[in-house]
Symmetry: C2
Subunit: 333 residues, 2 copies
C-alpha cells in the first residue's frame, strides 16, 4: 500500500514536472517573447525553436548541441553615440589624468581630455591601443573587475541620464530567456573586451562570465608581495571581431553554434559560419531603424556599420529585425 502510493506520487510528480516544462511551448504566442510584435521575425524564431527542440522532428537537435551566440554592442544593448566601453575608457582617462600630467600635451590623451573626439579618431589604431593600455592594463584582473563594476553602477548614458544597463534591449533579453528555457546554451560573442562584460552580464542578461567570449589583452600570473594575481598587460591578445568571431567561438566554445544573433558587419562571419553548418540553422540581424525610440543607422555609422549584412541577408535566409516594426518596446520598463 505504501509502495503503491509512493509510485503514484512519483507518477504525479513526473507528470507535474513534464506539464510545467512543456507549458511555454504550448501557451498562446503572446506569452512567449511578449515584447515582440507578431510578424515574420517572431514567427521565424519560434518556428526554428520548435523545429530544433521537438523530438521526432527531422530538424531535432540534441540539447548539448543547442549553442546560440549573441553579439553584445548594438544587439543586446545600445552602441550609440559610442560603444559603452569607449565611454568607460574616456572616463577612466579623465579619472587618471591627475597622475599623468604628460597627458595634457600627448595624444590621444590630450584630445580625450579636451573632449575632441575627432582628435582621438585622428590618432588612429596606435592611439586606440595607447588608450587601451592606459585604461585597461597595469592592474590585476580582480582590481579591473572592481573598476568596471563601480563604473557601470555610476556612469550615465549622455542622452537619457540613465545607467547604461537600462539601455539593454528587452526583446533580446526575452529571446535569451526563451532559448534557455528551451535548453539552448547561450553565449555572448562580442568585439568588446571580455573582462569589461563579465562583471555584469549575469545580473543584466542572465549570462554567466564563463559564457562570455570577447576581445582580450594579455595577462601574466605573478606573486605580488606573495599574493597570487593575474596582471593585465598593455598588449593585445585577441580581437574577437569579424573573422575573429568564428575563430573565437571555435577557441572558447569548441562547437559550431546553430543560431547566431548580431547587428553589424562585424557579425557577418559569425552568422556565415553558423548558418553554413549542416541541419537547421538560424541567423538574425537587428536593424536599427527607429530614430524615435532608439536610433536609426546602418551603412554610414562609425559604430555598428551594417551594409553587407543588409545586402546579403535575404539570399542567405537571415532574418532582419526592424526595431521599429518588430519590437513593441525597446527597453525594460
Amino acid at each position: 500500500m505504501l509502495e503503491i502510493s509512493r509510485r503514484s506520487a512519483l507518477q504525479i510528480a513526473a507528470f507535474a514536472v513534464a506539464a510545467s516544462s512543456i507549458r511555454p511551448a504550448q501557451a498562446e504566442d503572446s506569452a512567449i517573447l511578449p515584447s515582440w510584435a507578431d510578424g515574420e521575425a517572431k514567427a521565424g524564431i519560434m518556428d526554428f525553436v520548435a523545429a530544433t527542440t521537438t523530438e521526432g522532428s527531422s530538424d531535432f537537435v540534441e540539447p548539448a548541441a543547442r549553442i546560440a551566440v549573441f553579439d553584445n554592442d548594438g544587439t543586446l544593448w545600445g552602441e550609440q553615440p559610442m560603444y559603452v566601453q569607449l565611454a568607460f575608457a574616456l572616463d577612466r582617462v579623465k579619472q587618471l589624468a591627475p597622475q599623468h600630467p604628460e597627458w595634457q600635451t600627448t595624444e590621444p590623451f590630450k584630445s580625450v581630455l579636451a573632449g575632441d573626439m575627432a582628435g582621438v579618431a585622428a590618432s588612429g589604431e596606435r592611439g586606440l591601443l595607447e588608450l587601451v593600455a592606459a585604461t585597461h592594463a597595469g592592474v590585476s584582473a580582480e582590481e579591473f573587475e572592481k573598476i568596471v563594476s563601480d563604473w557601470i553602477a555610476s556612469a550615465r548614458h549622455p542622452a537619457s541620464g540613465k545607467p547604461y544597463t537600462a539601455h539593454i534591449f528587452q526583446p533580446m533579453v526575452e529571446l535569451i530567456d526563451y532559448l534557455k528555457t528551451n535548453q539552448f546554451e547561450v553565449f555572448i560573442v562580442s568585439g568588446g573586451g571580455v573582462e569589461f562584460m563579465r562583471p555584469w552580464t549575469e545580473r543584466v542578461y542572465g549570462i554567466p562570465p564563463e559564457n562570455v567570449v570577447g576581445s582580450s589583452i594579455k595577462t601574466k600570473y605573478e606573486l605580488r608581495d606573495g599574493v597570487p594575481a593575474i596582471m593585465r598587460l598593455p598588449e593585445v591578445d585577441f580581437i574577437d571581431d569579424g573573422p575573429g568571431k568564428p575563430a573565437g567561438i571555435n577557441k572558447f566554445i569548441g562547437r559550431r553554434p546553430i543560431a547566431a544573433f548580431g547587428n553589424s558587419d562585424g557579425d557577418f562571419e559569425m552568422l556565415e559560419w553558423t548558418t553554413a553548418g549542416p541541419g537547421r540553422r538560424f541567423g538574425l540581424l537587428v536593424h536599427h531603424d527607429d530614430a524615435e525610440r532608439e536610433n536609426a543607422y546602418d551603412r554610414q555609422s562609425h559604430f555598428g556599420r551594417l551594409a553587407r549584412g543588409l545586402d546579403e541577408a535575404s539570399a542567405r535566409s537571415w532574418t532582419v529585425v526592424s526595431i521599429k516594426n518588430d519590437w513593441k518596446i525597446v527597453y525594460p520598463e
Copy 2:
C-alpha cells in the same frame, strides 16, 4: 476540488524532487565515491563539499561560484610512458611520412620514424614545434576533430593493448560526477591541446567541449571553395601550463575556482591561485605511487614531474592522494 488536488499533486511533486536531490548527501559513505578507500583524502573531499554546499554553513558557496578545475594528463588519465597526445603526434608522423620523403633525412622526423625517442628529445623545443606544426596544423578544425576521433578509437596503449580511454582513473570520474551532483561546474584545465581533448571528453568524462581549457595553436577563419572553415595554423597561440593555467582559467572561465585537482608541478600555480582565494578552498594532488596497478613516479619523471608540490602540499593544506592507498580500483572495470 480540482484546484485542491492539483495543489496536492504539486506539493507531492515538490517533495519528491527535493527528496531525490538530497539523497546523495544523506546516503552512507560507501555509496559516494565508491572507488575511494575510506581515509583522509576521501573524508577531506566530502567535508569540503558538505561545507560549501550546505545552506547556512559559514563556508556556503552559491552554486554559480562552485567552479572546479581538473588537470587531465596524470590526473584524469595516465601519462606514462608518454603523454597520449605525443603518441598521437608520433603516429601521425608515421601516417603522413609517405607524403613527406624529406622526413627520412630531417629532424625531428627522422628520429620519430626510427623510433629514436632520445633523438626526438635532442631536437628540443624547435623540434617539438615542428612536430606540432606537421601533425596538428594545415587542416580545418572539423577535419582535425575527425582525425583525433578516429585515432582515439583505434590507438592502443603500448602496455595494456587497450584504448587510451580505458586508462582513465575511475575514482576521478566518480569525483567529477560527485561534484556535478553537488552543483559544481567542472572544467578541464590542461597543458594538452584543447582540440585534442574536446572530441572525446564529454563521452569519457561527462565534460562538454566548452568546459575544456587547454593549449592551442592559432587559427584563421576563411572560405575554402566558398565553404567557411576554421583553418589551423602552424603557430603556437597559448601554452596552458604552469603559470599559464591561472591565466587560462581567467581568460576562458573568468572566475577563480574554489577547487583544483592536479598531479604535477605544471599544476602548482593553478592550485596556488585557487587556494589563495577567500573562503573555503580545496587543492588536491594525485601522487603516482602504485607501480603494480599504474605507475610510480614523481621527482625524476619526464612526464608529470612532481617535486615542489610534494614539498609544499602540507604547508599549503593541499591533499595528496596516494593511488596505492586511497584508490580501491584505478581503472573502470
